[in-house]
Symmetry: C2
Subunit: 182 residues, 2 copies
């Protein structure tokens, strides 16, 4: 028996590496070690369902490891710092792309629009919540939260474009300082 969850992470890497259109069933089969029969048994909806499940899995990971801690933290300042640690590890200092961000830029945005919107909206909201509870006013918290998410996404683009992970690291360092200051 092949577990769906096991397959999902390998599946995610294929979508990350080649995009939705570039992730052919041949590549997916090679990466997962599964034949088409097994893949369609696990995901009856085919490639579209695979992508939907991958996005849901990513969303769940961020909800559990980033958003929920930001909202629930007793010491929100530490939760924000922990978020930067998690972001740096997850995106491998900019070497790993944000699949949800890639989808947002592509034509698949229409198909997966609500998942994309929700992922980013909850990120900004959870971060703004933590920033506000650490002493900022509401407007300033939202603005800074939005800017932090913007810079994380942009830093992935620029560090990959220049092939310099240091670009990502510098951006994170600067943002940590901004978030920590009152």
């Amino acid at each position: 028996m092949t577990s769906r969850a096991e397959t999902l992470s390998k599946l995610a890497e294929v979508f990350r590496a080649h995009g939705y259109e570039g992730a052919s069933l041949a590549r997916i089969g090679r990466a997962t070690g599964l034949g088409k029969g097994s893949l369609y048994n696990l995901f009856p909806g085919g490639k579209a369902e695979m992508a939907t499940c991958v996005l849901a899995e990513i969303d769940g990971w961020f909800e559990t490891n980033l958003y929920a801690p930001l909202r629930a933290a007793e010491r929100p300042g530490e939760a924000v710092a922990a978020m930067f640690d998690a972001v740096d590890a997850y995106f491998r200092s900019g070497r790993r792309v944000c699949l949800v961000g890639v989808v947002a830029l592509g034509s698949e945005r229409d198909r997966f629009g609500e998942a994309v919107r929700s992922y980013f909206a909850r990120w900004v909201a959870a971060l703004a919540d933590a920033l506000q509870r650490s002493g900022r006013d509401a407007a300033g918290s939202t603005a800074l939260a939005e800017e932090i998410v913007v810079q994380i996404q942009g830093a992935i683009v620029l560090s990959r474009a220049l092939d310099q992970p240091a670009v990502f690291s510098r951006a994170m360092t600067a943002l940590r300082a901004r978030a920590a200051a009152d």
Copy 2:
């Protein structure tokens, strides 16, 4: 006779809308109004050459309209402000994606790596040059230039993801202020 230059802008829109893999020759033919024979006559190297030429055209546009003015400006502060005007118009307040940024995130980065690297490196360098000549120190100029390009790219991602062009506009407004301050 069909001009290569005329075709390039329509070609660019197809790549922007569907990505490299999603831009099929059928779509390209429809968008340009040209048959395959004409397309291969204009671009003997096929789709890869089309993409290379599109990236070169975009690069040329930015070089002429953004980078060169930033480097040559007698009043660098005004050149930076003009850059923000041009960026806002070109990216349609975040509704239009940056094709070079999209390539940087995808698997085509390896194929077009040098074009992508050069486009962003020259953007950051030209902007840093203008910022320094407007009174900043060298290190601060480079850091701010890098952050501005990062935020432009990230603002495109987030504004598209949330389907809110206002996100892009807010980021540009904040950056203008940062760049104008001494």
